[in-house]
């Protein structure tokens, strides 16, 4: 019996130490109803183990985004994000305004060092660039095994992000509206997360984590408008959000192997911030190994959030409030996401995957998105 245990342990250790080298190429195609937004996102990811103690991971993504956003605009001067200024009650509209197609590139590199006791330190850097938004991020994470049997792990991570936003001054109250110039503004963010993972038994794992976000600077969306003084002198201006946002929350995740071929992932997240947004997220994913080559997946996510204290998209709501936004993503809504996926091993090293998602908010947004790609292990 001891011999059997020893050989199984050796096999498991060997599989753990075996290099996890792969190239993963995936494409996301995202479409909102009525052609409101369309996004194509190809990604390539490389994971490479340098011996048993070091891992390099790099990811490169390209986004191509086109479509429209629902905002206030003046119908007489055209459906433009910059149709700002005094208007009339008859001319004021809330609806989809087309924006120029934008492209974004994003890259992330991460390096992990493992120590003799298999504790890990991971350092990461990310860069994202589009014509009016640049983001740079540095991150550090540690994982510490609490017990010798490696059934309990404590993890902690921090990230600092610097974002530079190019704001078009055209009809924008934050800079010279007449010069036609643009201005670069900054928004910094700090993220922290701490978690504790526990193997409950040979088939289930529980993880709890706490997180904290702090954002400072220009958090306003330069393309979003609000309508003020509707009852007296209706005026369309750019939105204004507070310059600071602090959010925190907790996540409880439970992962369970059911029988020999099914895995169930379940999680709950609570979030709260000082913009008075509360949110609850429930997520469930099931993966079923149909045979040695094919794995089927299904997921259901429920999300709800309350509105920010400065949000309204009513026509006669805002007058001279300092903070005002009609961006419906800051509103009170709930959403569901349904997903289905299939993974198929073409050979021992090459895997093909396809997944489809249906996303619906009760306020009207409906999106369908698909991912497909291949993962090659070497």
């Amino acid at each position: 019996m001891q011999l059997v245990k020893l050989s199984i342990t050796t096999a498991l250790l060997l599989s753990t130490l075996q290099a996890d080298n792969y190239i993963n190429v995936q494409v996301l195609q995202y479409n909102e109803h009525n052609g409101r937004a369309s996004i194509s996102t190809p990604s390539v990811e490389l994971n490479y183990d340098l011996g048993a103690d070091y891992t390099f991971n790099g990811k490169y993504t390209l986004d191509s985004i086109s479509g429209a956003s629902p905002i206030f605009y003046d119908s007489t001067s055209g459906a433009s994000a910059y149709s700002r200024g005094e208007t009339t009650q008859d001319s004021a509209r809330y609806g989809g305004v087309e924006y120029d197609e934008t492209k974004r590139m994003q890259g992330t590199v991460r390096g992990t060092k493992r120590f003799e006791n298999r504790d890990e330190v991971t350092l990461g850097a990310s860069f994202s660039n589009e014509y009016d938004y640049r983001s740079t991020e540095l991150s550090a994470e540690v994982l510490h095994w609490v017990d010798e049997g490696k059934n309990q792990a404590f993890s902690m991570g921090v990230a600092f992000q610097r974002n530079v936003i190019l704001v078009d001054c055209k009809e924008n109250s934050i800079c010279d509206a007449t010069s036609g110039a643009s201005k670069k503004l900054r928004a910094d963010a700090f993220f922290a997360e701490a978690g504790f993972s526990q193997n409950l038994n040979s088939s289930s794992v529980l993880k709890t984590s706490l997180f904290f976000n702090n954002e400072d600077g220009y958090l306003t969306n330069p393309f979003m408008n609000v309508l003020r003084y509707y009852n007296t002198t209706p005026t369309i201006t750019n939105e204004t959000r507070p310059h600071n946002r602090r959010g925190y929350g907790g996540v409880l995740e439970y992962t369970k192997a059911i029988g020999e071929s099914t895995a169930w992932h379940s999680s709950y997240r609570y979030y709260h911030d000082d913009w008075e947004i509360d949110s609850h997220t429930l997520n469930n994913d099931l993966y079923y190994e149909l045979n040695s080559d094919t794995t089927l997946g299904a997921g259901l996510r429920y999300y709800s959030q309350s509105a920010a204290h400065f949000f309204s998209k009513e026509f006669d709501h805002f007058t001279d409030e300092v903070y005002a936004s009609s961006d419906e993503r800051l509103g009170d809504f709930n959403a569901i996401n349904l997903s289905m996926s299939i993974d198929y091993k073409i050979t021992k090293q090459l895997m093909y995957n396809l997944s489809g998602n249906y996303y619906k908010q009760n306020e009207g947004t409906i999106a369908r998105y698909f991912t497909t790609g291949v993962k090659y292990k070497f």
């Binding site: 860069f127 049997g149 993220f191 993503r329």
Partner: protein
Amino acid sequence: MKRVIMIVSLSSFFLSGCVQNVKAWEKAKLSKETMQKGGGNALLKAYQEHVYFSKEATKGGSGIGGGGCGCN
């Protein structure tokens, strides 16, 4: 924040009674790809997280790193 810490502490306390000392040779199921994030393909989960981040007002709890974007 106190409420979040209390929920996490209480659930940890009650669950500590259900914990077994799992030996290395009993971890075959735990090490399966389907038990890992995204069923073994974390990039697909990252795509979903990106969609949620773009269409909703909250973030956090899905890991550190990954970078920002002007999509929200």
